[in-house]
């Protein structure tokens, strides 16, 4: 599990021009190393630049300064080694469920029949095999996000970049998908960068939690989550260490809020 470095972020800064032509520092001097097969959550209040950090890892948004390296290569743009999953699902609405999952495979040059077979296998994995020919608009939010995850897993990226993927779902669906995500992750141990503002979600899923401050976005602290795997929610909820992590992180987040308000 503690493999070699998968992602290396050094002195990363990102600033925007605001409407009145001032520069706004969104991210300030971020340093972070993520190992292969690690599940890392980035936790912070809204507006702390955690999604921007993820977009830069994806190569969708350029950095202002600093370096981003994934698998030894400097990130200059998007690539199939880094698969995104967004809160808003971002499914292709004109494609059916199976069409969405096949899309990346077809783009990688996999033949139609082969792509279909592999997509079908993935849909079985996320319990959506019966919905292969549905269009996204016909599905619930939870189902759409399952499709989006399957679509990204289909082209087998080494790194999953998840941007508050369960943020738009109801509480029950969220826990179901968290469990499913952990199951998938236990199986193929991809490196996951998971952006969230939910403390219990971060603790439940992660090996490490990166806590961020707001304006400018900086790393406040990094907490190792030393809890046994595979994790079962009902067991964790009565686990003293889990509770301590949650309380500790809640306090940190509250501090971040207070600092931001007094600043």
């Amino acid at each position: 599990m503690t493999g070699q470095s998968m992602i290396s972020i050094q002195h990363l800064c990102k600033s925007f021009y605001t409407a009145d032509r001032h520069t706004h520092m969104a991210l300030d001097n971020i340093d972070l190393d993520i190992r292969e097969g690690e599940f890392v959550s980035i936790l912070g209040p809204s507006g702390c630049g955690k999604s921007t950090l993820l977009y830069m890892l994806g190569g969708f948004v350029p950095a202002t300064s600093g370096t981003l390296v994934a698998q030894g290569k400097t990130i200059t743009g998007p690539g199939p080694d880094r698969g995104p999953v967004f809160q808003e699902f971002a499914l292709f609405p004109w494609k059916t469920v199976i069409g969405n999952v096949m899309y990346g495979l077809r783009e990688q040059g996999v033949g139609r029949r082969d792509a279909r077979e592999r997509a079908m296998a993935l849909l079985h994995k996320v319990n959506l095999a019966d919905y292969a020919d549905f269009y996204p608009k016909e599905l619930s939010g939870g189902m759409r996000q399952r499709v989006a995850i399957a679509r990204t897993l289909a082209y087998d990226p080494a790194i999953l970049l998840m941007d508050e993927p369960f943020g738009a779902l109801d509480a029950h669906t969220r826990t179901v998908l968290q469990n499913e995500l952990l199951e998938i992750w236990e199986r193929d141990r991809k490196t996951v960068v998971f952006v969230t503002h939910g403390v219990d979600e971060a603790v439940f899923l992660s090996d490490r939690v990166v806590v961020m401050t707001r304006s400018p976005g900086r790393i406040k602290t990094v907490i190792d989550i030393d809890l046994p795997r595979p994790r079962v929610r009902s067991e964790l909820l009565v686990n003293r260490r889990y509770q301590d992590y949650v309380v500790h992180l809640e306090q940190l987040i509250e501090d971040v809020h207070l600092e931001a308000c007094s600043a």
């Binding site: 977009y55 190569g59 199939p80 995104p84 967004f86 971002a90 899309y103 783009e107």
Partner: protein, 265 residues
Amino acid sequence: MTASTHQYQVFGRLGPLLVVLALLAMWEVTARHLQLDGFPTAAEALRQLPVILSDGQALAGIGDSLRRMACAFVLALLVAVPVGLCMGRSDALARLLNPLLSVIYPIPKAALMPMVMLWFGIGDLSKVLVIFLGVSLPLLFHSYYGARNMDVKLLWCAAAMGMGAPVRLFKVVLPAALPDVLLGCRVGLSMALIVMISSEMIARQSGAGDLLFNAMDMALYPDVYAMILILAALGYGLDGLFERLRRRLTHWADVRQDSHAGASS
């Protein structure tokens, strides 16, 4: 309950037809009452319909009009849609072209006809060109709007799969903007009819507009009215066909409030 909903459905289907019939009846009564030369009765105009529609020359004229319209429409699709989509995804290009387009937009395209005729004569080329201009702008603006307002994360997802930018324009931006592009097509269709007729009124050589104004010159007023009815039916039919095509192509999209760009001819 079921009986009344049934009645309502029957009326819903027959209602528009009844309105048309009522209008025709009013026309008939008014025309008979006024007895003006330039205002034939509905019956006189309707009687001319089969005469015009069985006249080979007239049909060939209407066919000419439709052919020119189709050429211009296809040309506009090939030019305006890609340009509009590119503008929607490139702020620099949008800033470059938007002022120019805003100046061109309010010019009635038929007003360009004299100038275009001086350059290209009174034949097909001039008319196709003017119709093309008329269709292009609504098509371009709707394509631009659709591409600009699409979810950028769809593009990111495609890019992460390894799709390059030029391919993304056709495989992601075009389908994502398709509901808007087709809305532009519908507006463009009615524009095409309008510009088609006006261009043929100005450069009288062949076509539906030519037929209409020849009848006018010869004081064949029932023919004039019959031609107007034919053009209205043409617009209605084309719009209906197009609407069916649109539904087929964008059945996957969320239901949206469409502006009613009916065929006004």
